[in-house]
């Protein structure tokens, strides 16, 4: 094959396809999130524009394009302009590296250090937020940017450490090999359940999503780092946030939930089975991948509807005092089992953890009332005064 085609044109085409699909999901997420929040919160959500409000997906970008683009007085012009751009570039670049389906057709650039590259790229996204917050010449924006920095230093470390266990098990930084390893054995969720949990919490923190949405805490900092941004500049921040969410969901699916495969111990829809089916298998694999990814996006929304917000010192507390030691302990335990060549014993940790969770949330009769009243009785002693 012509090297120009092989190394430039084809990857670009594949990247553009992935880019367009992911951007379509980002646009749709806006509508999905609002409708789902509405469902949880006993209201409707957007339902005016088009059938079921679906045209809201188009109406919002049009509105952003037509709004006035305001630059505050005394803003640092260059940095203010760069702020919304910077988080976009690394998240878009990551799409090149993620394998969306089986075979080379579904990954723009298969790099053998893909995971390391992704970690390096995603962590630069925060610079745009800090820069934008600082350049806005607004104290609330500045505080939002600083909170983002505090959040980054607390969560980037456990985020990276949680992946180490997976690396040790799979013995590769190549995402395709990690997926194939899971199809040949079992989803990394089981042996690496602690790492999966840490990864999930850290990715919530990294995306500034509830309960870690402190940089843009609307009740505290008005809108945080994007207080002064309007029109498309604001839309770019939104775009970057949702793109980063999708990137992280893709990552957690690839690392812990078997990527595009649906198999265990080599049985089921493994890469080779899917590739044997040709294009149909490829599309099926991609579909499996997207279903897994979207279910994690739904969890983001579910969390947003449920949790209050952490305070930023509490968040750092959680990151440094709990997440990092836990991640290190996970690495040590995994290392011992890998050295002994008994990786499969790690499955029991996952099974035990899942059993404990299921036992804890099992439906109990009258559980809600009991739990909601248990605590107040201890603290609040209601006194009967006069009974006339």
């Amino acid at each position: 094959m012509n090297p120009w085609m092989q190394y430039l044109v084809w990857p670009l085409v594949k990247f553009l396809v992935a880019f367009i699909i992911v951007q379509a999901i980002v646009a749709a997420m806006n509508w999905i999130e609002r409708r789902l929040l509405g469902l949880v919160q006993a209201r409707l959500g957007p339902n005016r524009v088009g059938p079921w409000g679906l045209l809201q997906i188009i109406a919002d970008p049009v509105k952003f394009l037509l709004k006035e683009d305001i630059v505050p007085a005394n803003a640092e012009k260059v940095a203010y302009f760069l702020g919304p751009m910077l988080p976009l570039i690394p998240t878009f670049l990551v799409y090149c590296l993620i394998p969306f389906g089986p075979g080379p057709a579904f990954v723009s650039a298969r790099v053998n250090i893909a995971l390391l590259l992704i970690l390096a790229l995603t962590s630069t996204g925060v610079y745009g937020i800090i820069l934008g917050g600082w350049a806005s010449n607004n104290k609330y924006s500045l505080m939002g940017g600083l909170r983002s920095a505090a959040q980054m230093v607390s969560y980037e470390v456990p985020f990276g450490l949680s992946i180490v266990g997976v690396l040790m098990l799979c013995g590769s930084l190549d995402l395709v090999k990690i997926v194939d390893y899971q199809a040949a054995n079992v989803w990394n969720l089981l042996p690496q359940i602690v790492a999966c949990f840490i990864f999930f919490v850290s990715m919530n923190a990294e995306n500034n999503r509830t309960p870690f949405d402190l940089p843009e805490a609307e009740s505290e900092l008005v809108a945080g780092y994007h207080t002064e941004y309007s029109a498309m500049k604001f839309a770019f921040f939104m775009l970057a946030e949702y793109s980063a969410m999708i990137v992280n969901c893709c990552l957690i699916v690839t690392l812990f939930f078997g990527g595009w495969t649906f198999a265990a111990f080599g049985h089921g829809l493994t890469s080779s089975v899917l590739q044997h089916w040709g294009w149909a298998g490829g599309i099926l694999g991609t579909l499996i991948f997207f279903v897994k990814m979207m279910s994690f996006m739904m969890v983001y929304i579910w969390f947003r509807a449920t949790f209050p917000r952490f305070r930023f010192d509490q968040l750092m507390d959680l990151g440094w005092k709990w997440m990092i030691p836990l991640a290190l302990a996970n690495i040590a335990v995994t290392a011992i089992f890998v050295l002994l060549g008994q990786e499969r014993l790690l499955y029991w940790i996952g099974i035990a953890a899942i059993a404990a969770v299921v036992y804890y949330i099992r439906p109990r009769k009258g559980a809600t009332e009991k739990r909601s009243l248990a605590r107040p009785e201890k603290r609040i002693h209601a006194t009967r005064v006069s009974e006339a």
């Binding site: 919160q41 449920t306 917000r309 930023f312 603290r379 002693h381």
Partner: protein, 392 residues
Amino acid sequence: MSDAGRQPSALTPDAQGLRLIMFDVHEMEVNFGPQHPSTHGVLRLLLKIDGERIIDAKPVIGYLHRGTEKLFENMPYPQCIPHTDRMDYVASATNNLGFVEAVEKLMGVTGTIPRRAQLMRVILSELQRISSHLLWLATHAIDIGAMTPFFYCFREREQVLDLFETYCGARLTLNCMRIGGMPDDLPPGWLDDLEEFIGTFESAVDEYESLLTNNRIWKRRTVGIGVITPEEAVDWGITGPPLRGTGLEWDLRRAQPYECYPELQFEIPVGVNGDTYDRYLVRMAEMRQSRRILEQCIPLIKATPAGDIKAKISRVIRPPEGEVYHSIESPKGELGYYIVSDGKGQNAYRIRVRPPSFVNLQALPAMARGHLVSDLVALIGTIDIVLGEVDR
């Protein structure tokens, strides 16, 4: 950014130690409000912060000042009632109640108010307590970042407002009480609607509590935040749930009973630690107690003759010369009216309002000192101020 550098200031001992050991304090002045999403109206706070730690918070009020007390002097007593609506605009029924009771006390007709009117007043003010607490919970929760309770609270508040609307036509500024009684009898079927609301409300409160009470994040954001000791609370003159949250059992419905509260059975929930979490629990328990009061009122009011809602007093309100102070337990604390009548004409010589929000707000700087900016919004929420009442 104004960087005042090393300014000696009213630092907490904690922060002073921090300065000696670790860092310089770099004060930054921030305007919190009057246009800020979580100041619950037009409260403006001048914050001095070091990073996110609050060194000083100074409330600046007056953005909603309408001269209500001066207006009172220039109109006959009955015309004052709509103006009381606009003070604590989320609890107008209790505002009406305080005012009409004060005038009745000045005229010496308190004992002649028909029983049906008294029960109606109790029902309306307890419904108002529920709706005011629901609005407090909604905004308090969304300030701390919990989005969903906001909509759940508004769902039930809507039912209460519908009840108000069926009774008096208004949902917010009710103007629903008159000197000497009530303007109208209850419309047919109203008590059935009320019973329906009472039947579902307990489970609704359970639902809010299941989202918040045992939530670890909620507890971390509220337990130990803005602690007031009972002594401090008395010194500041704090009343209402913030006072009861400290453990003092002081509720004017019991301490200085009015209307038919003495014959109703209810408990006064009190807290232990005087922190934001206890104030939250107290208000949640108060909603349940209000529901209990409403439940008891229904058979009582059904036993009274329909239409007997006005005492026989003259149509022109002309109280004798004298002065009176009367206070009731509004959802936010002690709401008092001090009325001076010179005995001439139909206008009061002077009416002074003792609004609970205004007095409770004074404690905010002391509560906020040493906490973080994130806690400040929780503290503004927990003292439950309405700026219409603070500024009058």
